[in-house]
């Protein structure tokens, strides 16, 4: 499948907030109540269409456990978008947001679009963090905010796609230098229709060739 752009996303946040489930819901449209612990990072990808352009989202689902923290920091590099996830039923995951945000800002490029996500919105009865608190935090730190549920799929599509839209707008505005891969954006091998999906030896020469126009 060919694409016009490839955006690199990372999903970050405390362990057990539902990062992997969000990814699974977005890529496979299914929900797994019990998920194995993520070791280091897992990858996911999906095509979306914005402005009638094919955009491939390459999503890096990072491990939330503290032991992996310094490893996951190396994944921030070259990400165009980040989903910062907390669990609305666990207050401490919300309290750790500033640490995550500092980490993300420190190890990524400054133009990275960060979306704040309060996950598990289906568990209204066990809610510990009010929606307003999430909104306030996002406003204070200049983030986009959304409450999602990986279980019911509520807002999951929107979260990923809105982030992509914002990145796309930034490209149009010229904020992102699309020829610099450190920004997490790659121009696709539009002229090679036989391109298989990942992983595998895709025409890397094609992707570079696409960059010159």
């Amino acid at each position: 499948m060919s694409y016009a752009y490839l955006f690199k996303y990372i999903i970050i946040g405390d362990t057990g907030v539902g990062k992997s489930c969000l990814l699974l819901q977005f890529t496979d449209k299914r929900f797994q109540p019990v998920h194995d612990l993520t070791i280091g990072v897992e990858f996911g990808a999906r095509m979306i269409t914005i402005d009638s352009k094919q955009i491939k989202l390459q999503i890096w689902d990072t491990a939330g456990q503290e032991a992996f923290r310094s490893i996951t920091r190396s994944y921030y590099r070259g990400a165009a978008g980040a989903l910062l996830v907390y669990d609305i039923t666990r207050r401490e995951t919300f309290n750790h947001l500033t640490t995550w945000l500092d980490d993300a800002r420190q190890h990524s490029n400054s133009n990275m679009v960060i979306m704040l996500i309060g996950n598990k919105s289906d568990l209204e009865s066990r809610r510990e963090v009010k929606k307003e608190e999430g909104e306030a935090f996002a406003r204070e730190h200049g983030l986009v905010f959304m409450e999602t549920s990986a279980k019911t799929a509520a807002n999951v599509e929107e979260a990923f796609i809105n982030t992509a839209k914002e990145i796309y707008e930034k490209i149009q505005e010229g904020v992102f230098d699309i020829n610099n891969e450190a920004n997490g954006i790659k121009i696709g091998p539009q002229h090679s229709p036989t391109n298989p999906s990942l992983p595998g030896a895709t025409g890397s020469s094609g992707s570079q060739g696409g960059g010159c126009c």
């Binding site: 490839l6 070791i39 280091g40 990072v41 990858f43 990808a45 491939k56 390459q58 890096w60 456990q65 503290e66 032991a67 992996f68 923290r69 310094s70 490893i71 190396s74 994944y75 790659k186 990942l198 992983p199 595998g200 030896a201 895709t202 890397s204 992707s207």
Partner: protein, 282 residues
């Protein structure tokens, strides 16, 4: 082969006390706190054993000394010509010998406690030590795996597949070592908790006979000493006439006047003037 390289590297680093990733260290905080508790249980048990050993030894010495002093006083009392002095010496001697004898009854429960602590150290502490060292071995392997994964993460591109195979290899190694490490971590946490509880349990059992022995000893010796004290009251007071002359009564008086008198310079001057006038008078 590759993982052996990382394990060796990590072992050397841990042995030499090289700088470890702070996030990795803080993720082991609970375990490390528990290990501190284990260390303190181990150390304090060893200390306690030493103290009990010294204590029971000195207890024996003290009992022996009391006994011999008591016998000596009794002997002297028998040979004393003065009736009252003899009575006093015999009474004191008898009660001292008794106290010395009774003091020995504290020793058996102490020795028992010593044995209990010894068994506790030999069995429970040693067993926990084995688990802890197994855990440390797993920890080294796990941390080695993490370092490996970190290095494999440096250049990773899932779109082109670059470095993914290398990363997957490291990742599966992290998964297996993490599983083992988590298992041993849990075992350590549980064992140390159990160890702490077992120690409390041991003390609450082994200390009861000691406390009882102490209280029996105190009751018995109090009884004997108070009887002795009433007996001593009955004895005619010893006449200190002869010895009184050996004392220096003046010394005390001097002290009293010295400390009671308000010392002022004026007084001193007055005295000086008086003495001067006296001199003139001469």
């Amino acid at each position: 082969m590759q993982h052996q390289y990382w394990v060796t590297k990590k072992s050397v680093q841990r042995k030499l006390g090289g700088k470890e990733d702070e996030c990795v260290i803080s993720s082991d905080a609970e375990l490390d706190a528990k290990l501190e508790l284990f260390k303190s249980i181990n150390d304090s048990c060893l200390q306690l054993q030493r103290f009990i050993d010294l204590y029971q030894e000195r207890l024996c010495f003290l009992a022996q000394e009391e006994h011999s002093l008591g016998r000596y006083l009794k002997e002297c009392g028998k040979n004393e010509k003065n009736d009252s002095a003899g009575k006093i010496m015999i009474t004191v001697g008898k009660s001292l010998a008794y106290v010395g004898h009774q003091r020995l009854t504290i020793r058996p429960p102490l020795v028992r406690l010593h044995q209990e602590v010894d068994t506790f150290r030999g069995r429970a502490v040693t067993d926990t030590k084995v688990t802890v060292s197994e855990m440390e071995k797993c920890r080294t392997e796990y941390r080695a795996a993490l370092s490996w994964m970190k290095s494999a993460s440096q250049q990773l591109d899932p779109d082109t597949g670059y470095g993914v195979d290398k990363f997957r290899k490291a990742q599966s190694y992290v998964r297996s070592t993490k599983y083992k490490f988590d298992k041993f971590t849990l075992a350590c946490l549980q064992k140390v908790d159990l160890l702490a509880a077992a120690r409390c349990n041991m003390f609450s059992h082994a200390l009861v006979p000691y406390i009882n022995a102490l209280s029996v000893f105190s009751t018995k010796t109090t009884e004997v000493l108070s009887t002795a004290s009433t007996n001593l009251d009955k004895v005619e007071p010893y006449d200190f006439h002869v010895t009184a002359e050996l004392a220096i009564p003046n010394e005390d008086k001097d002290k009293e006047t010295f400390f009671n008198a308000d010392y002022t310079d004026e007084d001193k001057e007055k005295i000086l003037k008086e003495s001067e006038s006296e001199w003139k008078g001469w």
